[in-house]
């Protein structure tokens, strides 16, 4: 049942220790910083986090990692010039890493939302990321068996929600939001604006409200951030 929630703190209050949490965003675009900060404040720990990266600088997911709340990262690109908190935890053996090619990450998340129990894809065949995985020759190519990534919760940033929970995004901040909303049992979305039912064109809705459970308005969210 869709809920409109007043604060990010209340929105994330139900996230339990040990949960698998998908976090939208690619780099800073679409990253729900306010929800991540609230998750940090909530004290939830022993989390498995699914995100394309493993945190940048001293904010958001990077802080969650720094504070030892993340048991395992499932991501495609953990190593960045400013991913020092992940780097330190990883080198200390204090965080588990499941490294997934970015397209497999996206398709595995999509599979979870679409009720697909597994699929074969050529990506990764013959590489160390496919070691130990089942392979099969299909459509003229060797392919690797990949399984869905399910989650308990998704934290997502969108531009606008209407009263039915339908979402639209902004430019490349869309990225993982729609597929994570579908893959998680409970989707928590921060938006910059909540508009009345009927204010979004039905042709242009990107995430239908059926995939959305909790919506919280965050004043800055979705407004173009100016990057120095």
């Amino acid at each position: 049942m869709l809920q409109f929630i007043d604060t990010v703190g209340e929105a994330v209050a139900g996230i339990k220790d040990g949960s698998t949490v998908m976090i939208g965003g690619f780099g800073n675009a679409g990253q729900p910083f306010e929800l991540i900060d609230a998750l940090l404040d909530s004290g939830a720990t022993d989390l498995t986090v699914v995100n394309n990266n493993a945190g940048q600088g001293d904010q958001g997911l990077a802080l969650l990692i720094k504070e030892g709340r993340v048991r395992k990262m499932i991501c495609s690109f953990p190593r960045q010039s400013d991913s020092w908190h992940f780097d330190a935890k990883f080198k200390a053996g204090e965080i588990e890493l499941e490294l997934v090619p970015q397209g497999n990450l996206a398709e595995r998340i999509r599979a979870a939302g679409a009720g697909i129990g597994g699929f074969f894809t050529p990506t990764g065949y013959g590489t160390m990321l496919a070691e130990g995985k089942e392979t099969r020759f299909l459509d003229g190519k060797w392919q690797v068996f990949e399984t869905p990534i399910h989650a308990d919760v998704a934290l997502i940033k969108a531009l606008k929600a209407d009263g039915k929970g339908n979402l639209v995004y902004r430019k490349t901040a869309r990225n993982f939001g729609p597929i994570m909303a579908a893959a998680a049992k409970h989707s928590i979305v921060q938006v910059s604006e909540i508009v009345p039912v009927g204010a979004l064109d039905p042709e242009n809705i990107v995430t239908p409200g059926i995939y959305v459970n909790s919506i919280v308005r965050v004043a800055s969210a979705g407004i173009a951030e100016k990057v120095a």
Binding site: F77, R79, P101, E107, P122, G124, T172, I179, K226
Partner: protein, 224 residues
């Protein structure tokens, strides 16, 4: 060697990064859909002409990507796969990550241009991981790009800083994709890779024989 002299193009000097990018740009067929990898391949966009009508894809969810954003254009919600602010050209479209990778993985991109640590005679690509035991691995979209595009062009210097050829019989670095590379653009030559072995299309600042001496696998000169 007469066919060699008539077909194999040469130039007096090795190519710089920008000249190489210009060459790759010129080789992209009009109307193509192209993904340019992070780093050196990004330079190619500087040399694409309007007449070529190339559409650039960025795997974080866009077709019709324009040049890097400057000044007031910079918008944190509009970045490329290298997380650099970019611009949107008329006719652009946005989509989510699964749809964006379906474009690559479904074989719809004509060309992707990638950097490399090593390319093998059979077109294997190694460009994501040094394999060093203490390195934190990070793959991003490299494997999808290598596997999905109709043609994979590699841009790299032919030799490492230590003078070792990056074009090799078999890759020693961990692979990104198997048998996926179709062309290798280097400062010293352009190579075509395929099931028939490695063909040299042009050399820059060296003869075919000098090039062969640098590369530890049999090369063939291009014939017209």
């Amino acid at each position: 060697m007469s066919t060699l002299e008539t077909s194999l193009q040469t130039s007096a000097e090795p190519l710089g990064r920008n000249e190489l990018a210009q060459l790759v740009a010129r080789d992209i067929a009009p109307g193509s859909f192209v993904n340019l990898g992070i780093g050196q391949p990004t330079l190619v966009s500087n040399y694409l002409t309007e007449e070529q009508n190339i559409t650039l894809h960025t795997e974080n969810g866009m077709l019709g990507m324009g040049p890097e954003a400057v000044g007031e254009q910079i918008d944190g919600d509009l970045i490329n796969a290298g997380k650099i602010p970019v611009t949107e050209l008329p006719g652009a479209s946005y989509f989510h990550h699964a749809d964006s990778f379906a474009i690559m993985r479904g074989g719809h991109l004509d060309i992707c241009v990638l950097g490399a640590f090593q390319v093998s005679a059979g077109g294997d690509l190694a460009n994501w991981h040094t394999g060093a035991p203490d390195a934190i691995p990070a793959v991003g979209g490299a494997m999808d790009l290598a596997t999905g595009a109709k043609d994979v062009f590699v841009m790299m210097t032919l030799l490492t800083r230590d003078g070792v050829s990056k074009l090799v019989e078999q890759c020693t670095y961990p692979l990104t994709g198997v048998g996926c590379v179709t062309r290798v653009y280097t400062d010293k030559a352009v190579f075509l890779t395929g099931p028939d072995g490695v063909t040299v299309r042009e050399t820059f600042g060296c003869t075919f024989e000098e090039l062969q001496a640098l590369v530890p696998l049999p090369l063939k000169p291009a014939v017209s």
